[in-house]
Amino acid sequence: MRFFVTVHTPLALSLSKGRLRLYRPSTSLRSARGARAVGRERLRFFLLLLSLFSLAAAAAEPAPVTDPKTGFDFGSYGRVGVGSDLRGHEGFSTNVVSHGSRLEEAPYLELDFYYTGLIGGDAQKRWRVVLSPAFAGGDLFHYSGSFTSHLALRNAYVETQNLGLAGLRIWAGSRIYRGDDLYLFDYWPLDSLNTVGAGVAYTFRKYEIAIHGGLNRLDDLYQYENLTQPPRGLGPTIQSTVLDRPRFVASLKLSKQFGESPGAKVALYSELHVLPSGDYIRPDNMLKQALPGDLGWVVGAQFGGWLRPSVFANLWLRCAGGLAAYGELTVPTGLDPTRKVSDAREVVLALSGNYESKWVGVMFASYYRRFVDATPGGFNPASYHEGILSVRPQVYFGKYFHSAVELSYQSRRTDGPDYVANRVLVPQIFRFSVLPLVSPLGKGTYSRPIIYAIYTLSVVNGDARIAQYDPSDYRYGQGVAHYLGIGAEWWFNSSYR
């Protein structure tokens, strides 16, 4: 049995059989969202689900351990590339949507360290520690000459498997916690959380329920304020913590797989964000300002199907409101007059897929996203529609030498006029990329590592340039942009689980 969660590959596989009938909320429940009575009914629904899973679990067989290895292990994801715009500048990425083509993304590296052990000598029961330092930002010493890096610890958690109950996983720590992605856009459209918390996942037959809760507290006056105050006596100033309000984020994911190969899956997903109230002191005038408590929510679903592991398609729908519309690691860009973000919304409809044959592979992905900022008013330039469509066919010239072509179109339309142009902008970009590549592990659009050369031609309309660049920026005048470069990407034994 395998998780439905993948990170760097969208292949979500489930091999067991089974069916799940989900309890459907009543019509009144759906229409009276937010009411207290509805909350109680939802709780009952949730408890009922838990009960059903518990009953089923009692009859479940022990889940086989995915990875039989114990001891130290290592994995990694990484990408490194460099290019030129053929006009004497560093090559640059051309995107106007929130999640555009990943081809010219800045270098990024994750180093995954694992240590796995058995519990009580039972090969079915394991524990493991996962540590994943990550370097981001493209600050390669050999490029910048600067001996500094942006280093973050993306994973630092402990997990147990099958301890106490077959199919049960318990974890706690700091973790990237997410599901399937749109590889072409480096985008997780439904469930993608960065959390410090804990979770429980239980898999039986072909069902899975995963619950998680965690906290985050961004280093921003929205959630945290540390003021310097005069010394108590003589000596250094002291620090005063005025505001400290971590956001609680909880998620629940229910999954069901149908069939083996071919097969299908359905996942229902929800998040709850709770931000307590607090006070902060405006640094400019030291006036105390109340920050009310706030909420966020996500509901969404994923539908996937596959003919075989390399031929699949996924469809996602995500609806988010309040805090969750901005994401868990983002400070809201706009507040309503009560300093809340209740009216913020995000709707995402995304599609991705992959096809493989002996000589050709094709990746495709697309999403539409509607984002509504919490700031009142119908002409808010922070609210927008955006979408992108991309296809990447890849031809295999033998086992190791391939060539891919990526075609994409993307556009965004804001609700309000641009601050510079004084009109609503509709940035649009058409991109065409060619990637001759070497794949040491053979064929497959997801076969990694790869070493590639890349040329991208981007047709960037005027609105896209106005929206993104100051007139003094050399890119402002480039209606046609080039990128010629080389790169490499790899993943192996990555910490997707």
């Binding site: 003021l227 105050q229 006596g233 640094p283 005038n285 030291m286």
Partner: protein, 683 residues
């Protein structure tokens, strides 16, 4: 587990005695004693440990103190003395003695505009020096927390208050302040606290152009035209003016917003937030539980007049409602809530450290009605009544009544003005008990003793005093009227030292002779005894420790002698004053520079004759030019002894018929003549 009885009893005794002592000293409430007793008797190990912990905690608190004001600190029973018996010694804490090197933070040795390191421990350490000098009352510079530094000058003086209720850590802790007062009281010194009710430090600015930052701007289009009605007035008719938003010029309508387009309404004030130097909103600025909230108490902008800096001291409105130059923001003392808060915060200092009086800064910059409210409140508080405290969260909170009433709490103010009418007005109507005698400083010590003006000016000043100052003691005040209790001084921290203007020790000594023999209360500025000669601020604020606290100097010994004489002879302290000789002569006349007066009390009299002439020996007579000789109130044949004369020098005179007496005094000399029957031995 049971501890040994012998050990327990021993420690019990020690603990109980210590607790009793602490209670007597006021460090802990007496009601705690029974708990000590019960706790210490316990033989159970837990209770025993609890007792020791409690005692240790209390001892630690007593040793370390805290900076919070609380009530009940008393070192002496209620004050009962006559303030005319006192000799005040004004000291700047930062300059008097450096007893604690731990608080030498941001000290810049030798740069007198910056902190030098003096502290309350330094005062404690050198009380013997002051005892040797003979002064009896210590007037210490303000104790409250200040804005640290402003325009590259430090608040070593203490007058830039930012926090009314906490001590300035440069000088020590509250417990150290208490120790100072306690130790001083034990050495029979009284201690006077310097307070400021008129203003706070430069803690906010006027955002005249409303751009949210403090600017220094030049307005106007040059000179040569009359100012348009809608444009900012320019000094001297000039149409260009330089305005700093920290300290803009006085505007009777309140500082107004202004840009090149004209006025734009009241300029908002904006507090500054620089915690490194305590440039923070004034405290207390919030009730308990509302820490950091603004817009309350002393952070309420309505508590300030907001009219800008005084530019013309002849305009009463400016003096009363303008900011003190340097950007010291003027409190709106007309408001009842401001009055109540100021009375409460300063009453708490009386309670916290057992002070014996207030020296009140910038008296004339606050309206009479304030003092008619403030002074009676303080007197009633000292008499044992609680005082409403609006700085506390509880609306019914009070500054608790003193456990022992404090009588004759002395309040005297600084009305820095040569106008007797103005200065005297503050002694009327139950306002302050006394004021600094600035008119005398200007008219007598400066004009006569420094610059050789006729001594008739002294007589004029004495006569003026009798009618311009209150002749009625305030209710619950010090028991004597202002006319008898004016605070006399040669110089202070705000004016050049005597020797700066007149670099002559004989001249200084003649002035000192008058200071310590005239009626009123003498106030000696620290360092005078060491012959300091600094000019204007800050050079007149020298470090005393550079002198090594020598007590064998000529001036030190002369002052010591004068004080001993004043202490020995009641007429010099409490007697009426009657001028016996003054003269308009300042040249070579027989009596040039002579001034003589009698002090009489309870049937005893002392005759003082001073020669202010720099050039000649003069006499109390003009007989050589056909005039008269001085007539005293002594009976003929009375033998007078000059108790000031150095031993071994002629010091005896005999009163002639009808009290006639010619006293010859060398240039810049002085004689203190006491009937031989009253002469006492003086150390």
């Amino acid at each position: 587990m049971v501890v040994q009885l012998k050990l327990s009893l021993t420690r019990y005794s020690v603990a109980l005695i210590a607790a009793y002592v602490l209670a007597q000293l006021g460090h802990i409430p007496r009601r705690m004693l029974p708990r000590f007793a019960v706790g210490a008797l316990a033989l159970n190990a837990t209770e025993y440990a609890r007792t020791l912990i409690l005692l240790t905690t209390i001892l630690f608190v007593a040793a370390c103190g805290s900076d919070a004001l609380d009530s009940g600190f008393r070192t002496t029973p209620g004050q009962t003395g006559d303030w005319r018996d006192e000799v005040i010694y004004q000291l700047l804490v930062d300059r008097f003695g450096n007893g604690d090197l731990q608080n030498d933070v941001n000290v810049n040795p030798g740069a007198l505009g910056r902190f030098q390191g003096g502290d309350w421990q330094g005062v404690i350490d050198h009380l013997d020096y002051l005892e040797a000098l003979g002064v009896t009352t210590l007037w210490i510079s303000p104790v409250v927390r200040n804005l640290e530094t402003d325009a590259n000058f430090d608040s070593y003086h203490g007058y830039w208050q930012q926090d009314f209720v906490h001590v300035n850590p440069h000088f020590g802790s509250l417990s150290k302040l208490r120790e100072l007062v306690q130790t001083a009281h034990a050495h029979n010194f009284k201690v006077i606290l310097d307070i400021v009710t008129n203003h706070t430090a430069q803690l906010f600015y006027y955002d005249i152009n409303n751009n949210g930052v403090p600017d220094e701007n030049v307005y106007g289009a040059g000179c040569g035209e009359a100012a348009p009605a809608d444009k900012m007035a320019c000094p001297g008719g000039a149409l260009i003016s330089h305005i700093t938003e920290y300290d803009p010029d006085f505007d009777p309508n309140g500082v107004r917003g202004y840009t090149s387009l004209g006025f734009s309404g009241a300029a908002p004030i904006r507090w500054l937030y620089i915690p490194e130097i305590d440039r923070m909103p004034t405290l207390p600025g919030a009730n308990a539980g509302q820490a950091l909230a603004t817009q309350t108490l002393f952070q309420n902008e309505n508590w300030y007049h907001k009219k800008g800096r005084i530019t013309d001291y002849s305009i009463r409105d400016q003096v009363l409602t303008g900011d003190f130059p340097g950007g010291l923001k003027d409190l709106n003392t007309e408001l009842p809530e401001v009055r109540a808060a100021l009375a409460a915060v300063f009453a708490r200092w009386i309670s916290a450290a057992d002070f014996d009086g207030f020296r009140i800064d910038t008296l004339k910059h606050v309206e009479h009605e304030f003092w008619q409210d403030f002074c009676p409140k303080i007197r009633k508080f000292c008499a044992g009544q609680p005082l409403a405290d609006p700085t506390q969260a509880d609306p019914s909170a009070t500054v608790p009544a003193l456990s022992v009433a404090k009588q004759k709490f002395f309040m005297f103010g600084e009305s820095f003005d040569g106008d007797d009418d103005l200065d005297g007005s503050y002694t009327m109507n139950q306002e302050v008990d006394s004021v600094f005698f600035f008119p005398q400083k200007f008219a007598v010590f400066d004009r006569v003793f420094k610059h050789g003006a006729p001594t008739t000016a002294i007589e004029t000043q004495i006569n003026t005093k009798a009618v311009k100052y209150s002749a009625v003691a305030s209710s619950d005040g010090i028991g004597v009227p202002a006319t008898q209790a004016l605070v006399n001084f040669l110089d202070n921290h705000d004016v050049p030292r005597f020797l700066f203007d007149k670099p002559s020790l004989p001249a200084l000594h003649s002035a000192l002779a008058y200071l310590f023999t005239e009626d009123g209360i003498p106030s000696l500025y620290y360092g005078t005894e060491q012959e300091f000669a600094g000019g204007n601020d800050p050079t007149n604020r020298e470090r005393l420790w550079d002198t090594g606290y020598r007590t064998d100097g000529e001036t030190f010994q002369f002052i010591h002698r004068l004080i001993q004489i004043r202490k020995a002879y009641a007429p010099l302290r409490r007697g009426d004053i009657k001028v016996k000789w003054s003269t308009a002569h300042v040249g070579v006349e027989q009596d040039a520079g002579i001034f003589a007066f009698e002090r009489t009390a309870e049937g005893h009299a002392v005759l003082v004759v001073i020669n202010t002439s720099d050039s000649q020996t003069s006499e109390t007579s003009t007989a050589s030019s056909g005039g008269n000789q001085m007539t005293t109130d002594f009976s003929a044949g009375t033998e007078l002894i000059d108790v000031l004369a150095p031993s071994g020098t002629p010091n005896q005179l005999t009163v002639g018929p009808s009290g006639a007496l010619t006293v010859s005094v060398p240039s810049r000399g002085a004689k203190i003549l006491v009937p031989s029957r009253d002469v006492m031995g003086i150390q």
